[in-house]
Symmetry: C2
């Protein structure tokens, strides 16, 4: 007995729709009304249509790899390396290699012939490589959302919840006048930090004094901002530093101002890393669990490639609060 494979065309004929509409509907591309999408899925299920597994196998055989784009400008390289290793580990479980993408060059052929899909981590509005990646003709998953209209999957972190946890933590350890060094700019992250500080202050009737520092602030810039903050407002008894890697500057400025860090002055960071773990004292920080984040991004892309989930699915990634001596009164 021969079983004929049900094709996309069979589903399209049964539904009275074009092949591309049926494809969009089954891939959850968002261009198709939800009612149509449901009807197409029912017809496909009724016919026993297996979503495109032959084409998927073919596509995998042709490249067997996914691409990984990381921001080059950032200072958080140990974060991105951990993330990359996580993505490699997860992709390997599906037999896929991870190609580390550099800046686009003419030397290369089109991306779609080289990879089955793309991971684009922390896509910044200013990164000129990103639009081309999002338009390369293969499924894309971004780590954090891309600030523009685009059809892709995303794995996102709840930055409002993690800053709330830090503010609750310093309050629980005695802080009554916390300051926040917030990154400049209108990135989703910077906006989340500022609006969270405002809403937390209103809820607890505790003012949060916000000062701006560069998006990629150096420890020196954080130190100078802290020095000015303490000179203007000596009642400040805690400083939370937004930008990654800059919190040791807060520590240095507080010590230089004669504050007893961890006892009458608390220091914390919105991003954990080498700098916060190796400082003296070590600094309380939000661990964004980069290896697991990389795994989650790769897992979503694999699910999209295997058509186990819609191409525009959004998933959430958990963080953890790492409390250390900089906020723990002995």
């Amino acid at each position: 007995m021969t079983t004929r494979t049900v094709t996309l065309l069979d589903v399209a004929r049964a539904a009275g729709l074009s092949k591309s509409t049926v494809s969009d509907a089954l891939q959850g591309s968002g261009r198709v009304a939800e009612a149509t999408r449901e009807r197409v899925r029912e017809i496909a299920d009724g016919l026993g249509y297996r979503p495109n597994s032959a084409a998927r196998r073919l596509r995998r055989a042709s490249t067997g790899a996914i691409g990984l784009h990381l921001p080059h400008t950032a200072t958080r390289l140990d974060y991105y390396m951990n993330l990359a290793f996580g993505a490699v580990e997860r992709a390997q479980e599906e037999g896929l290699d991870v190609v580390l993408l550099g800046t686009p060059t003419a030397a290369h052929g089109p991306l779609a012939t080289r990879v089955d899909g793309l991971l684009v981590i922390d896509p910044e509005a200013g990164d000129t490589a990103v639009p081309g990646l999002l338009d390369a003709g293969v499924p894309v998953v971004t780590g954090e959302r891309y600030p523009g209209p685009v059809l892709c999957g995303a794995v996102v972190c709840d930055n409002a919840a993690s800053l709330t946890a830090l503010l609750d933590h310093v309050r629980g350890n005695g802080a009554r006048r916390p300051g926040l060094l917030a990154p400049e700019g209108d990135s989703a992250w910077a906006q989340a930090l500022r609006s969270t500080a405002t809403s937390w202050a209103a809820k607890h009737r505790i003012p949060v004094v916000v000062r701006s520092v560069p998006f990629v602030a150096t420890p020196g810039e954080a130190a100078e901002a802290t020095r000015l903050l303490l000179a203007e407002d000596p009642a400040i008894d805690a400083v939370i530093c937004g930008p990654d890697g800059a919190a040791p500057g807060v520590l240095g400025a507080a010590i230089a101002a004669g504050r007893a860090v961890g006892r009458d002055f608390l220091v914390a960071s919105c991003v954990d890393g080498v700098a916060t773990r190796t400082s003296h004292p070590p600094i309380t920080a939000i661990d964004l669990r980069p290896a697991d984040y990389g795994r989650a991004c790769a897992a979503l892309l694999c699910d999209i490639l295997a058509e186990r989930t819609p191409a525009d699915a959004i998933r959430h990634h958990d963080w953890a609060l790492e409390t250390r001596a900089s906020t723990l009164p002995g």
Copy 2:
């Protein structure tokens, strides 16, 4: 007019040798006596033999990628990320992708069908993945030498010269009794640090007090080693820390012992990174220039793949001394 391409077989016939011997001779594989190698090269040049460019193009077309293996256990992730970006940049100039390799799994096909060549960075004797990589059937370049007999290219750093520069620097800034926290184990790097300390001490008639710390020491372990060292030998007026990322621990212990770091007590690190740049004060260190190191490794592999250089070529990579406040008496 048609020009017939001179093949490896033509060279073998003219030389009266087997094709594999001629291939070994032209690739500089080391299995062929130097005299034979020279004779084969002369014959090949005389016939106008172009080393295997057709086969090379074919091989490139089949994968278009090189693999990159990094140690996962190490803490120096920002170092390796910089190195990886450098390698990607250089490989791109030849139209090659860089595949980030994870742990070997059964899910994957043989490496030789997926990549044209391999970069194996800091191959450690204990890394179980390394022997398989070195035997994958494609050209290999290691970053630092592999501690075992193997035919591959390597890019190496002069660790004796960089420690000598650090010792000369602290001596030039007043240190008369330096200590060295040397990594345990018999890696090429650990051995170079210990033997250099001994020879420098003999040359300058200045004792260098060497203490062992773990190969991947934490700042806490470096702090404890420093505390013990200062308790045993209060005349110590400088400490150079071997393991990457641990030097802030030396700094913390020195400050806790009441030493004025940068003035009457100098601190330096054999490896630069986030931890040394962001500490207070920032710590003098050897910058191993990881991005350029990655470029150099990829460049050597590209040269070997293009048969522009022998498969066992060794190249040297330069470091730079970054002097900072921890060793500069104001």
